[in-house]
């Protein structure tokens, strides 16, 4: 199949070098999808895709030209074949990217394959126009009557004739009446507000009847409403103002609130198990870093009141409280979960206090735990 247009960079659609626009036109896909795909590829290859972008920028000619840009800037390459040029540019890009990012060859293979695929589409034969150009006369308002529709069709036909287009290329079908907008974006937003209210009400009702509903449920509910609103508006002539941005922001908030102990279990290995049995093993303040930390105080014996602070960045802290000591635990987590004796609290900026008084005359151990991201669990 050679129906797809040749790769050409167009300055009018360009954000940086026009590479995404050239790919979108050649593949016949939405330009935004190609840009989003490029950003995702850049992230998952730790920036290596940028090297691929510049390789394509050097290799794809601009619109209206067959000259490869790198040949213009480096005259000694003009004697090389296209294949030699592509191989050299891609290889240099890969070496440069590897030196800059230090990423393993896996990511390089991605860029190499993508670049070669694109390079193979650079020299497709130009297609002769098989349809007439778009009419020169444009109207903002849709036709109101059949007569106006016919008049505009005739107007378009005449404008094409005046441009010198052969008769056999003239459009034969009358222009269709544009579909009326099915409603303003305000209506969609009213529906979204109603959806938010419904979600809020349902979750509040669940919270009254059962355990408290975490903030994540509200964020997810609002995100679902925005997702449904986006899906219901796909056939609208214009996307409701701000709907996509609101969905992206809510999605980011939801994704930010998702981390929990099980996910941490999968990405962070066990780092330390500390068994504390005497006061001498306790320090006022202890930094645990990142990882899974278990601190077993179950056999601890105290002779006087003591304050201890544990601080960690990412991971899980599990503390088993002593049996014969009065304890007060203050837990603070920026993002994640606090589980105090089976009671769970999830979300952002969470704090909770657990008091365990066994004997009024026994010494008091006061523990403060600060964790940035992850899970704090305190077991009696």
């Amino acid at each position: 199949m050679t129906n797809t247009p040749a790769l050409r960079r167009d300055r009018h659609d360009a954000r940086i070098g026009g590479v995404c626009a050239a790919l979108a036109r050649s593949w016949g896909v939405d330009l935004k999808l190609v840009r989003i795909g490029t950003i995702i590829l850049t992230v998952i290859t730790s920036g290596l895709a940028i090297a691929g972008y510049f390789a394509l920028w050097l290799l794809i000619p601009p619109v209206g030209s067959d000259k490869i840009p790198v040949r213009r800037w480096l005259p000694f390459t003009r004697n090389w074949t296209d294949t030699q040029l592509v191989v050299v540019v891609v290889s240099l890009s890969i070496v440069f990217a590897a030196l800059m990012t230090g990423v393993a060859p896996g990511g390089l293979v991605v860029i190499g394959i993508v670049t070669l695929i694109i390079a193979s589409g650079m020299h497709r034969p130009k297609q002769q126009p098989t349809t007439a150009p778009a009419p020169l006369v444009r109207h903002v308002e849709p036709p109101r009557t059949e007569f106006e529709l016919a008049a505009r069709a005739w107007e378009n036909r005449m404008s094409v004739v005046y441009t010198g287009v052969p008769l056999h290329l003239m459009p034969t079908a009358a222009p269709s009446v544009p579909a009326k907008p099915s409603g303003s974006s305000g209506k969609v937003w009213f529906s979204v507000v109603a959806g938010f209210g419904a979600v809020w009400g349902v979750l509040y009702y669940i919270g009254l009847r059962n355990a408290p509903v975490p903030a994540l449920a509200y964020a997810s509910g609002f995100l679902a409403v925005l997702g449904l609103a986006l899906l219901s508006s796909v056939r609208r002539p214009k996307r409701p103002f701000g709907l996509a941005s609101a969905a992206i922001m809510t999605g980011l908030v939801t994704a930010f609130m998702l981390p929990n102990a099980q996910m941490i279990d999968r990405v962070i290995p066990e780092s330390s198990v500390l068994i504390v049995t005497s006061e001498a093993q306790l320090s006022d303040s202890m930094y645990l870093g990142s990882g899974r930390n278990s601190i077993d105080l179950s056999e601890l014996e105290l002779t006087e009141d003591l304050d201890v602070t544990y601080t960690a960045d990412v991971g899980e802290i599990t503390i088993v409280l002593p049996h014969d000591v009065n304890t007060t635990v203050h837990s603070f987590v920026d993002v994640g979960e606090i589980v105090h004796d089976g009671r769970s609290l999830k979300g952002i900026d969470r704090e909770d206090t657990l008091t365990n008084e066994t004997d009024p005359d026994a010494p008091l151990l006061e523990i403060e735990i600060h964790l940035d991201v992850g899970r704090i669990e305190v077991q009696k």
């Binding site: 016949g28 896909v29 939405d30 935004k32 999808l33 269709s176 579909a179 509903v213 975490p214 994540l216 449920a217 964020a219 997810s220 509910g221 995100l223 679902a224 925005l226 997702g227 449904l228 609103a229 986006l230 899906l231 508006s233 796909v234 056939r235 609208r236 002539p237 996307r239 709907l243 996509a244 969905a247 992206i248 809510t250 999605g251 939801t254 994704a255 609130m257 998702l258 929990n260 099980q262 996910m263 999968r266 999830k346």
Partner: protein, 59 residues
């Protein structure tokens, strides 16, 4: 109907629903990450292919 589909809105909407479902699962239960590990890439591939199919110009 000759109306074009807003592909960006469709893809974003589907992704939002997937993420919302994951959030609800975590809120009212315990996410089985092995299931998510299998379902997430498949879903992304399907949504990506749908986006490509919808954005193809109609002849």
């Amino acid at each position: 109907m000759n109306t074009r589909i807003d592909v960006t809105a469709a893809v974003l909407g589907l992704l939002a629903l997937l993420l919302a479902g994951l959030g609800m699962w975590e809120s009212f239960g315990t996410i089985n990450w092995s299931v998510v590990g299998l379902a997430a890439p498949i879903s992304l591939v399907i949504i990506g292919l749908l986006g490509l199919a919808w954005s193809k110009p109609k002849s």
